[in-house]
């Protein structure tokens, strides 16, 4: 054990979160995901608290993205993918047949690894979700677009370029545009699948700052490869390894005094 190394990973002054007294927004109970015969997520059980930032870390192929994409059922796109166990959101199992997937996805927004704005104008990108929900009024749309872009800390940069193609923005701007697009639908939960892995350090910092600003208003679940990032921005961290949830707890504690040997090995860089 090398305390000096762990000390460098320690997050700056961020209040310790105790897991008691938090309301669970999403709860997994013995939840498994299969790709045909392969069990990618193995019977995980944990609660994602409301209004906080929860990071999921782990080496490649550990099932962290699969778990994240189960929450808004994006895994449905993959043929042969099915789930077992319970993933409870708003008192209902996300995978029960009665669930309206479209309604679910409107409440659980998602930001992807690579910025993926539509090849449309900046305005149309943000207005896409509200339009889907039936907002036709130009003035209301404009106000939603502005509010979402302000929340995503992009408004100042693009307010004069709303009618330009979104693909002309820089990578970091595109990713913040994607966040604005997700926020425009007014979701409760924001899922982020390695949102900074395709960005340069400057843009990464901006996105991380943005996550800090959104904390409290939204429940944020972020999958990241970057342990420093998890330490910097999250309140709680879950460590996945080979589909199993190895350890879950307040970020501060997990990074300073991990309970499991595997966790310690991973965060000190002995494997992964």
């Amino acid at each position: 054990m090398a305390p000096t190394l762990l000390a460098t990973l320690r997050p700056p002054a961020r209040p310790e979160v105790s897991q008691e007294g938090l309301t669970a927004h999403v709860s997994a109970r013995e939840f498994s995901v299969f790709y045909r015969k392969v069990e990618a997520v193995k019977q995980v059980s944990f609660d994602i608290p409301s209004g906080l930032v929860t990071a999921i870390i782990g080496p490649s192929g550990c099932g962290k993205s699969t778990f994240l994409r189960a929450i808004n059922r994006m895994n449905d796109l993959i043929p042969g993918c099915r789930a077992r166990g319970e993933l409870v959101f708003d008192a209902a199992n996300v995978y029960s047949p009665e669930v309206d997937v479209v309604a679910l996805r409107q409440r659980v927004g998602m930001v992807f690894q690579k910025p993926n704005p539509f090849p449309k104008t900046v305005f149309e990108n943000v207005a896409y979700g509200p339009r889907l929900q039936g907002t036709r009024d130009r003035v209301r749309l404009a106000s939603i677009v502005e509010r979402s872009l302000v929340k995503a800390a992009l408004w100042e940069e693009v307010k004069d370029r709303l009618s330009e193609n979104a693909l002309g923005l820089s990578g970091g701007q595109q990713q913040r545009l994607c966040i604005a697009r997700a926020l425009a639908v007014d979701p409760e939960i924001l899922l982020m699948d390695e949102p900074t892995s395709a960005l340069d350090p400057r843009s990464t910092t901006r996105i991380e700052d943005l996550i800090g600003e959104l904390r409290g208003s939204y429940t944020i679940v972020i999958v990241t490869h970057n342990m420093q990032q998890a330490a910097r921005i999250s309140d709680l961290t879950a460590f996945f390894y080979e589909g199993v949830l190895v350890e879950y707890g307040p970020t501060q504690r997990l990074f300073t005094t991990p309970e499991k040997k595997q966790t310690e090995d991973y965060i000190t860089g002995r494997f992964g």
Partner: protein, 448 residues
């Protein structure tokens, strides 16, 4: 491998590539250059006074005073020809019966050739066919006729091991020693005065109807028919093709049935087009009775079936090429499958789909075999839009074939045939250029 060897290999490969591209370009030039040169001959040529008279009398075009002045001057140059023939015909009455018989036959041949060159003799009853009411309208054709007048063409078959040898004997020999001997040098010397050739741009060739089975006039019925058939085919093929492509990419599961269907579509693209023509006749006309007989409608549907595999395959590729992340983004925002397709996938696939449509248009415009049995006739009026459901039409590809093989006077109307070839080639080239431009435009818009 040694550096020198690699260099030699690289050089020889790029050399080979350059060579084959050069061959391609050269064959394109060799193919297109004569088409353009000969095709342009239908639009720009030396027209005789007969052409101007035709335009004035039949279509009311041109300067009436100038043309009638020209006609008078041409008539006075022609008068000696008529005079000589009339005088000779009275002269032969004094000849012996045998001679009279020979000369009568010879002068009758001569008279009909002169009629073909200059039109009916003055004072003769107006013939029924337009081609007999006017002389040669084109100077190149007129010169060929003059040669026919000056020389009698015959073939020598005496050596059975060889093909017949053509012998041209001056026609004047037949009239040696008579007063008509002077006629031939006169025609040779005064041809230009009699016909008054002048370089003319006949751009209306495209928009004039044909007169007397393409002896005169333009090719508007064919051009219009080709447009009807092409756009008609697109009306059927494009929606069906795109919907089928969407189904195959977005909805169909990967079962053996779908695999079989894909294979069928690919093989359909390789079926000879004449088979589609017969299928169209047997199915659309004889079985479904979409029209009583050949019609633009039946031809359009047949062409649509012909280009459908191309549209499906190309649209499928275009839709498949849309990045998965667009789909994910739309779905994660709560879009349904159909809405994702309409609002995100189709717009992103548009350049590819458009290209496939325009290329299919080029194909449909140029196909001959499918319309032989279903839509094409050799002579016809330009159709009104509502007539296309029941009426057949002339069309460029079929009429090129028809004029080259089945027309009663193939040699007289070569220029029309080449004019059609040029029009069709330019049409298809334009469609392809449109495809390229459209693709570049839309891609640029998508890329931002």
């Amino acid at each position: 491998m040694k550096l020198a060897t690699r260099r030699v290999l690289d050089r020889s490969f790029s050399g080979l590539g350059f060579f084959s591209i050069g061959i391609m370009a050269a064959s394109l030039v060799v193919m297109l250059a004569p088409m353009f040169v000969r095709g342009l001959d239908a639009f720009v040529f030396k027209a005789t006074v007969e052409h101007r008279r035709l335009m004035l009398e039949r279509l009311g075009r041109g300067n009436r005073d100038a043309t009638s002045g020209e006609v008078t001057r041409a008539a006075s140059a022609r008068q000696p020809v008529y005079d000589m023939i009339t005088r000779f015909k009275t002269e032969i009455n004094d000849y012996s019966a045998d001679q009279r018989r020979i000369y009568r036959g010879a002068v009758r041949d001569l008279e009909s050739l002169v009629r073909e060159l200059l039109g009916p003799f003055p004072g003769e009853a107006q013939p029924v066919l337009i081609r007999q009411q006017f002389g040669q309208t084109r100077w190149d054709r007129a010169q060929a006729k003059i040669r026919e007048i000056l020389y009698v063409e015959s073939y020598d078959y005496s050596d059975p091991t060889k093909m017949g040898v053509r012998i041209e004997t001056p026609r004047v020999e037949a009239f040696r020693g008579t007063s008509l001997e002077a006629l031939f040098p006169y025609i040779e010397a005064h041809a230009e005065e009699m016909l008054r050739p002048r370089t003319t741009v006949y751009w209306r060739f495209l928009f004039d109807g044909s007169m007397d089975a393409h002896f005169f006039g333009g090719i508007w019925p064919e051009v219009l028919g080709t447009f009807y058939l092409t756009f008609g085919a697109m009306i059927f093929a494009v929606p069906m093709g795109i919907i089928a492509a969407i189904y195959l990419v977005e909805y169909a599961r990967d079962t053996w049935l779908i695999q079989l269907l894909r294979t069928c579509i690919s093989s359909l693209a390789g079926v000879p087009s004449i088979v589609f023509g017969l299928f169209g006749l047997a199915f659309f006309i004889n079985t479904l009775h979409v029209s009583e007989s050949k019609s633009v409608l039946a031809g359009s549907i047949t062409l649509a079936v012909l280009v459908l595999p191309t549209v499906i395959r190309a649209s499928e590729e275009a839709i498949r090429a849309v990045p998965l992340t667009y789909r994910e983004a739309a779905l994660s925002l709560g879009a349904g499958k159909w809405h994702t397709i309409v609002s995100v996938i189709l717009p992103a696939a548009l350049p590819g789909i458009l290209t496939s449509i325009v290329i299919s248009m080029g194909r449909a415009a140029g196909e001959t075999a499918p319309i032989i049995f279903t839509a094409a006739v050799s002579v016809g009026k330009p159709l009104k839009l509502w007539e296309t459901a029941s009426q057949p039409t002339p069309a460029l590809p079929w009429n090129i074939y028809n004029l080259a093989t089945e027309h009663e006077a193939v040699d007289e109307i070569r220029h029309i045939q080449f004019g059609m070839v040029l029009t069709l080639v330019v049409l298809v080239l334009l469609l392809n250029v449109t495809a390229i431009v459209l693709r570049a435009r839309v891609s640029k818009k998508l890329r931002g």
